[in-house]
Symmetry: C2
Subunit: 179 residues, 2 copies
Protein backbone atom coordinates (compact mmCIF):
# COMPACT_ATOMS: atom_id res chain seq x y z
CA UNK A 1 0.00 0.00 0.00
CA UNK A 2 1.43 3.36 -0.92
CA UNK A 3 2.44 5.45 2.05
CA UNK A 4 -0.02 8.22 1.27
CA UNK A 5 -2.97 5.85 1.15
CA UNK A 6 -1.82 4.20 4.36
CA UNK A 7 -1.66 7.55 6.18
CA UNK A 8 -5.09 8.64 4.96
CA UNK A 9 -6.61 5.26 5.82
CA UNK A 10 -5.24 5.32 9.35
CA UNK A 11 -6.35 8.90 9.96
CA UNK A 12 -9.88 8.14 8.78
CA UNK A 13 -9.82 5.11 11.02
CA UNK A 14 -8.57 6.96 14.09
CA UNK A 15 -11.27 9.60 13.60
CA UNK A 16 -13.84 6.82 13.29
CA UNK A 17 -15.22 8.14 10.02
CA UNK A 18 -15.99 4.85 8.27
CA UNK A 19 -19.70 4.48 7.78
CA UNK A 20 -19.82 0.70 7.48
CA UNK A 21 -18.17 -2.40 6.10
CA UNK A 22 -19.64 -4.25 3.14
CA UNK A 23 -18.96 -7.81 2.07
CA UNK A 24 -19.73 -8.51 -1.56
CA UNK A 25 -19.66 -11.93 -3.15
CA UNK A 26 -17.82 -12.79 -6.33
CA UNK A 27 -19.58 -11.22 -9.35
CA UNK A 28 -21.76 -9.02 -7.15
CA UNK A 29 -22.02 -5.32 -8.08
CA UNK A 30 -21.04 -2.38 -5.93
CA UNK A 31 -22.42 -0.02 -8.60
CA UNK A 32 -24.29 -0.45 -11.89
CA UNK A 33 -24.68 1.79 -14.95
CA UNK A 34 -27.08 4.72 -14.66
CA UNK A 35 -26.67 5.23 -10.91
CA UNK A 36 -24.98 7.87 -8.76
CA UNK A 37 -22.49 6.53 -6.24
CA UNK A 38 -20.26 9.14 -4.63
CA UNK A 39 -18.89 6.86 -1.90
CA UNK A 40 -15.23 6.17 -1.53
CA UNK A 41 -14.38 2.54 -0.75
CA UNK A 42 -11.30 1.14 0.90
CA UNK A 43 -10.63 -2.48 -0.07
CA UNK A 44 -9.85 -4.62 2.98
CA UNK A 45 -9.65 -7.83 0.95
CA UNK A 46 -10.51 -9.08 -2.51
CA UNK A 47 -10.48 -7.25 -5.84
CA UNK A 48 -12.88 -5.44 -8.13
CA UNK A 49 -13.12 -4.29 -11.72
CA UNK A 50 -14.58 -1.08 -13.12
CA UNK A 51 -16.02 -1.27 -16.62
CA UNK A 52 -18.55 0.16 -19.02
CA UNK A 53 -20.54 -1.68 -21.66
CA UNK A 54 -20.51 -0.58 -25.27
CA UNK A 55 -21.95 -2.54 -28.15
CA UNK A 56 -22.63 -5.49 -25.80
CA UNK A 57 -18.96 -5.65 -24.88
CA UNK A 58 -17.47 -5.13 -21.44
CA UNK A 59 -14.57 -2.64 -21.44
CA UNK A 60 -12.56 -2.79 -18.22
CA UNK A 61 -10.96 0.55 -17.39
CA UNK A 62 -9.69 0.04 -13.82
CA UNK A 63 -9.07 -2.54 -11.12
CA UNK A 64 -9.12 -2.20 -7.35
CA UNK A 65 -7.04 -4.37 -5.03
CA UNK A 66 -6.54 -4.89 -1.32
CA UNK A 67 -5.34 -1.83 0.60
CA UNK A 68 -6.37 0.66 -2.07
CA UNK A 69 -9.24 3.03 -2.52
CA UNK A 70 -11.81 2.52 -5.25
CA UNK A 71 -14.61 4.80 -6.39
CA UNK A 72 -16.68 5.60 -9.42
CA UNK A 73 -14.47 8.63 -9.89
CA UNK A 74 -16.76 10.37 -12.40
CA UNK A 75 -19.68 10.24 -9.93
CA UNK A 76 -17.41 11.19 -7.06
CA UNK A 77 -16.37 14.36 -8.89
CA UNK A 78 -19.54 15.38 -10.72
CA UNK A 79 -22.18 13.87 -8.40
CA UNK A 80 -24.09 12.85 -11.52
CA UNK A 81 -25.07 9.36 -12.75
CA UNK A 82 -22.40 7.45 -14.62
CA UNK A 83 -22.43 4.45 -16.89
CA UNK A 84 -19.70 2.66 -14.95
CA UNK A 85 -20.11 -0.69 -13.25
CA UNK A 86 -18.05 -1.78 -10.24
CA UNK A 87 -18.10 -5.55 -9.75
CA UNK A 88 -16.28 -7.92 -7.40
CA UNK A 89 -13.86 -10.32 -9.10
CA UNK A 90 -13.76 -12.43 -5.96
CA UNK A 91 -15.30 -12.18 -2.50
CA UNK A 92 -14.43 -8.66 -1.40
CA UNK A 93 -14.71 -6.63 1.78
CA UNK A 94 -14.72 -2.84 1.61
CA UNK A 95 -15.06 -0.03 4.14
CA UNK A 96 -17.31 2.84 3.07
CA UNK A 97 -16.93 6.58 3.58
CA UNK A 98 -19.32 9.08 2.02
CA UNK A 99 -17.98 11.89 -0.16
CA UNK A 100 -19.21 14.58 2.22
CA UNK A 101 -17.56 12.99 5.26
CA UNK A 102 -14.38 12.42 3.27
CA UNK A 103 -14.22 15.96 1.87
CA UNK A 104 -14.75 17.40 5.36
CA UNK A 105 -11.91 15.19 6.58
CA UNK A 106 -9.69 16.44 3.71
CA UNK A 107 -10.60 20.10 3.88
CA UNK A 108 -10.23 20.49 7.64
CA UNK A 109 -6.57 19.62 7.68
CA UNK A 110 -4.00 21.13 5.28
CA UNK A 111 -1.82 18.02 5.54
CA UNK A 112 -4.71 15.76 4.44
CA UNK A 113 -5.50 18.19 1.66
CA UNK A 114 -1.93 18.02 0.45
CA UNK A 115 -1.93 14.21 0.49
CA UNK A 116 -5.21 14.12 -1.42
CA UNK A 117 -3.83 16.58 -4.00
CA UNK A 118 -0.86 14.26 -4.46
CA UNK A 119 -3.18 11.31 -5.05
CA UNK A 120 -5.16 13.31 -7.64
CA UNK A 121 -1.94 14.39 -9.37
CA UNK A 122 -0.73 10.80 -9.51
CA UNK A 123 -4.11 9.77 -10.85
CA UNK A 124 -3.91 12.28 -13.70
CA UNK A 125 -0.47 10.98 -14.66
CA UNK A 126 -1.71 7.37 -14.50
CA UNK A 127 -4.64 8.29 -16.72
CA UNK A 128 -2.22 9.75 -19.28
CA UNK A 129 -0.16 6.54 -19.18
CA UNK A 130 -3.35 4.55 -19.62
CA UNK A 131 -4.33 6.67 -22.63
CA UNK A 132 -0.94 5.93 -24.19
CA UNK A 133 -1.29 2.21 -23.37
CA UNK A 134 -4.56 2.04 -25.25
CA UNK A 135 -3.28 3.94 -28.28
CA UNK A 136 -0.17 1.80 -28.71
CA UNK A 137 -0.95 -0.77 -31.36
CA UNK A 138 1.59 -3.49 -30.50
CA UNK A 139 0.09 -5.95 -27.94
CA UNK A 140 3.62 -6.82 -26.79
CA UNK A 141 4.48 -3.21 -26.01
CA UNK A 142 1.14 -2.65 -24.26
CA UNK A 143 1.79 -5.73 -22.13
CA UNK A 144 5.36 -4.70 -21.27
CA UNK A 145 4.40 -1.14 -20.32
CA UNK A 146 1.60 -2.24 -18.00
CA UNK A 147 3.63 -5.10 -16.54
CA UNK A 148 6.42 -2.70 -15.67
CA UNK A 149 4.07 -0.12 -14.16
CA UNK A 150 1.62 -2.43 -12.36
CA UNK A 151 3.18 -5.84 -11.68
CA UNK A 152 0.61 -6.38 -8.89
CA UNK A 153 -2.16 -6.46 -11.49
CA UNK A 154 -0.93 -9.75 -12.89
CA UNK A 155 -0.89 -11.40 -9.46
CA UNK A 156 -4.24 -10.13 -8.23
CA UNK A 157 -6.46 -10.40 -11.28
CA UNK A 158 -7.41 -13.43 -13.43
CA UNK A 159 -5.89 -13.37 -16.90
CA UNK A 160 -9.17 -13.02 -18.76
CA UNK A 161 -9.81 -9.64 -17.10
CA UNK A 162 -6.24 -8.44 -17.54
CA UNK A 163 -6.53 -9.34 -21.22
CA UNK A 164 -9.73 -7.30 -21.56
CA UNK A 165 -8.03 -4.34 -19.85
CA UNK A 166 -5.07 -4.68 -22.23
CA UNK A 167 -7.36 -4.97 -25.26
CA UNK A 168 -6.07 -8.36 -26.32
CA UNK A 169 -7.30 -11.96 -26.29
CA UNK A 170 -6.46 -14.16 -23.28
CA UNK A 171 -4.46 -16.32 -25.71
CA UNK A 172 -2.28 -13.38 -26.78
CA UNK A 173 -1.71 -12.45 -23.14
CA UNK A 174 -0.69 -16.03 -22.25
CA UNK A 175 1.72 -16.11 -25.17
CA UNK A 176 3.28 -12.77 -24.10
CA UNK A 177 3.64 -13.93 -20.51
CA UNK A 178 5.52 -17.04 -21.61
CA UNK A 179 7.88 -15.23 -23.97
CA UNK B 1 -13.53 30.58 -22.37
CA UNK B 2 -14.86 28.88 -19.28
CA UNK B 3 -15.54 31.20 -16.40
CA UNK B 4 -12.99 29.55 -14.13
CA UNK B 5 -10.19 29.93 -16.65
CA UNK B 6 -11.19 33.53 -17.29
CA UNK B 7 -11.03 34.37 -13.57
CA UNK B 8 -7.64 32.71 -13.11
CA UNK B 9 -6.25 34.37 -16.23
CA UNK B 10 -7.36 37.82 -15.13
CA UNK B 11 -6.02 37.36 -11.59
CA UNK B 12 -2.62 36.24 -12.90
CA UNK B 13 -2.68 39.22 -15.22
CA UNK B 14 -3.60 41.75 -12.54
CA UNK B 15 -0.79 40.42 -10.32
CA UNK B 16 1.58 40.74 -13.27
CA UNK B 17 2.78 37.14 -12.96
CA UNK B 18 3.24 36.32 -16.66
CA UNK B 19 6.89 35.74 -17.43
CA UNK B 20 6.78 36.45 -21.13
CA UNK B 21 4.84 36.08 -24.36
CA UNK B 22 5.99 33.65 -27.04
CA UNK B 23 5.04 33.63 -30.70
CA UNK B 24 5.50 30.28 -32.40
CA UNK B 25 5.13 29.68 -36.10
CA UNK B 26 3.00 26.98 -37.65
CA UNK B 27 4.61 23.54 -37.08
CA UNK B 28 7.09 24.93 -34.55
CA UNK B 29 7.48 23.01 -31.26
CA UNK B 30 6.81 24.33 -27.78
CA UNK B 31 8.13 21.05 -26.34
CA UNK B 32 9.71 17.91 -27.77
CA UNK B 33 10.02 14.34 -26.46
CA UNK B 34 12.59 13.70 -23.74
CA UNK B 35 12.49 17.17 -22.20
CA UNK B 36 11.09 18.60 -18.98
CA UNK B 37 8.73 21.53 -19.40
CA UNK B 38 6.79 22.50 -16.30
CA UNK B 39 5.50 25.81 -17.66
CA UNK B 40 1.84 26.58 -17.95
CA UNK B 41 0.84 28.36 -21.17
CA UNK B 42 -2.19 30.49 -21.85
CA UNK B 43 -3.12 30.58 -25.53
CA UNK B 44 -3.80 34.14 -26.73
CA UNK B 45 -4.32 33.08 -30.35
CA UNK B 46 -3.79 30.04 -32.54
CA UNK B 47 -3.97 26.37 -31.65
CA UNK B 48 -1.65 23.52 -30.72
CA UNK B 49 -1.62 19.75 -30.59
CA UNK B 50 -0.09 17.44 -27.99
CA UNK B 51 1.08 14.05 -29.20
CA UNK B 52 3.52 11.21 -28.67
CA UNK B 53 5.21 9.07 -31.28
CA UNK B 54 4.97 5.30 -31.19
CA UNK B 55 6.08 2.99 -33.96
CA UNK B 56 6.76 6.02 -36.20
CA UNK B 57 3.17 7.14 -35.83
CA UNK B 58 1.96 10.40 -34.31
CA UNK B 59 -0.78 9.86 -31.70
CA UNK B 60 -2.56 13.11 -30.85
CA UNK B 61 -3.91 13.10 -27.31
CA UNK B 62 -4.94 16.73 -26.75
CA UNK B 63 -5.50 20.06 -28.46
CA UNK B 64 -5.16 23.58 -27.12
CA UNK B 65 -7.18 26.52 -28.41
CA UNK B 66 -7.42 30.25 -27.89
CA UNK B 67 -8.29 31.35 -24.35
CA UNK B 68 -7.33 28.05 -22.74
CA UNK B 69 -4.37 26.80 -20.79
CA UNK B 70 -2.06 24.19 -22.21
CA UNK B 71 0.78 22.31 -20.53
CA UNK B 72 2.66 19.06 -20.73
CA UNK B 73 0.60 17.89 -17.79
CA UNK B 74 2.79 14.89 -16.95
CA UNK B 75 5.88 17.15 -16.62
CA UNK B 76 3.87 19.77 -14.78
CA UNK B 77 2.87 17.21 -12.15
CA UNK B 78 5.96 14.98 -11.88
CA UNK B 79 8.69 17.49 -12.91
CA UNK B 80 10.29 14.67 -14.88
CA UNK B 81 10.98 14.36 -18.63
CA UNK B 82 8.08 13.24 -20.76
CA UNK B 83 7.77 11.88 -24.26
CA UNK B 84 5.09 14.38 -25.26
CA UNK B 85 5.43 16.91 -28.05
CA UNK B 86 3.55 20.21 -28.14
CA UNK B 87 3.43 21.70 -31.62
CA UNK B 88 1.66 24.70 -33.14
CA UNK B 89 -1.00 23.85 -35.71
CA UNK B 90 -0.98 27.45 -36.89
CA UNK B 91 0.81 30.62 -35.84
CA UNK B 92 0.21 30.78 -32.11
CA UNK B 93 0.83 33.28 -29.34
CA UNK B 94 1.05 32.07 -25.73
CA UNK B 95 1.74 33.70 -22.38
CA UNK B 96 4.06 31.78 -20.09
CA UNK B 97 3.93 31.28 -16.33
CA UNK B 98 6.34 28.96 -14.50
CA UNK B 99 5.00 26.18 -12.31
CA UNK B 100 6.56 27.67 -9.15
CA UNK B 101 5.03 31.10 -9.76
CA UNK B 102 1.70 29.53 -10.61
CA UNK B 103 1.62 27.23 -7.57
CA UNK B 104 2.48 30.18 -5.29
CA UNK B 105 -0.38 32.09 -6.87
CA UNK B 106 -2.73 29.12 -6.29
CA UNK B 107 -1.60 28.24 -2.78
CA UNK B 108 -1.69 31.77 -1.39
CA UNK B 109 -5.37 32.25 -1.97
CA UNK B 110 -8.02 29.69 -0.97
CA UNK B 111 -10.34 30.91 -3.71
CA UNK B 112 -7.67 30.31 -6.38
CA UNK B 113 -6.96 26.91 -4.86
CA UNK B 114 -10.62 26.00 -5.09
CA UNK B 115 -10.81 27.09 -8.73
CA UNK B 116 -7.71 25.07 -9.58
CA UNK B 117 -9.12 22.00 -7.81
CA UNK B 118 -12.25 22.37 -9.93
CA UNK B 119 -10.13 22.47 -13.09
CA UNK B 120 -8.26 19.32 -12.02
CA UNK B 121 -11.52 17.53 -11.21
CA UNK B 122 -12.94 18.46 -14.60
CA UNK B 123 -9.73 17.26 -16.20
CA UNK B 124 -10.00 13.85 -14.54
CA UNK B 125 -13.57 13.47 -15.78
CA UNK B 126 -12.53 14.55 -19.30
CA UNK B 127 -9.71 12.00 -19.26
CA UNK B 128 -12.21 9.28 -18.33
CA UNK B 129 -14.44 10.34 -21.23
CA UNK B 130 -11.41 10.29 -23.52
CA UNK B 131 -10.54 6.78 -22.35
CA UNK B 132 -14.07 5.66 -23.20
CA UNK B 133 -13.88 7.43 -26.58
CA UNK B 134 -10.77 5.50 -27.51
CA UNK B 135 -12.16 2.14 -26.41
CA UNK B 136 -15.40 2.48 -28.34
CA UNK B 137 -14.98 0.60 -31.59
CA UNK B 138 -17.58 2.29 -33.78
CA UNK B 139 -16.05 5.34 -35.55
CA UNK B 140 -19.52 6.88 -35.84
CA UNK B 141 -20.12 6.69 -32.11
CA UNK B 142 -16.63 8.04 -31.33
CA UNK B 143 -17.30 10.96 -33.67
CA UNK B 144 -20.74 11.70 -32.19
CA UNK B 145 -19.51 11.59 -28.58
CA UNK B 146 -16.62 13.96 -29.22
CA UNK B 147 -18.68 16.26 -31.43
CA UNK B 148 -21.29 16.60 -28.69
CA UNK B 149 -18.69 17.23 -25.98
CA UNK B 150 -16.24 19.44 -27.91
CA UNK B 151 -17.92 21.10 -30.88
CA UNK B 152 -15.20 23.79 -30.84
CA UNK B 153 -12.61 21.17 -31.81
CA UNK B 154 -14.13 20.78 -35.28
CA UNK B 155 -14.00 24.52 -35.92
CA UNK B 156 -10.50 25.18 -34.65
CA UNK B 157 -8.53 22.18 -35.87
CA UNK B 158 -7.92 20.89 -39.42
CA UNK B 159 -9.68 17.64 -40.19
CA UNK B 160 -6.53 15.56 -40.56
CA UNK B 161 -5.58 16.21 -36.93
CA UNK B 162 -9.11 15.67 -35.63
CA UNK B 163 -9.14 12.35 -37.52
CA UNK B 164 -5.87 11.29 -35.87
CA UNK B 165 -7.26 12.23 -32.45
CA UNK B 166 -10.40 10.20 -33.21
CA UNK B 167 -8.37 7.21 -34.46
CA UNK B 168 -9.92 7.21 -37.91
CA UNK B 169 -8.91 8.14 -41.43
CA UNK B 170 -9.64 11.69 -42.69
CA UNK B 171 -11.92 10.06 -45.28
CA UNK B 172 -14.00 8.34 -42.58
CA UNK B 173 -14.26 11.62 -40.66
CA UNK B 174 -15.41 13.52 -43.79
CA UNK B 175 -18.01 10.88 -44.46
CA UNK B 176 -19.31 11.06 -40.89
CA UNK B 177 -19.46 14.86 -40.99
CA UNK B 178 -21.60 14.74 -44.14
CA UNK B 179 -24.01 12.10 -42.87
Amino acid sequence: MSNIIKILYERIDSQDLWEKNLVISRNEYLKVSGTIDTNLYFILSGSLKIFFINDHEEHIIRFGYQNNFITSLDCFITEEPSELYIQAIKKTEVRVISKSTYMDFINHNPEHKELWDMILGELIVQQMEREKDILITSPKERYQRVHKRSPQLFQEVPNKYVASYLRMSPETLSRLQKS
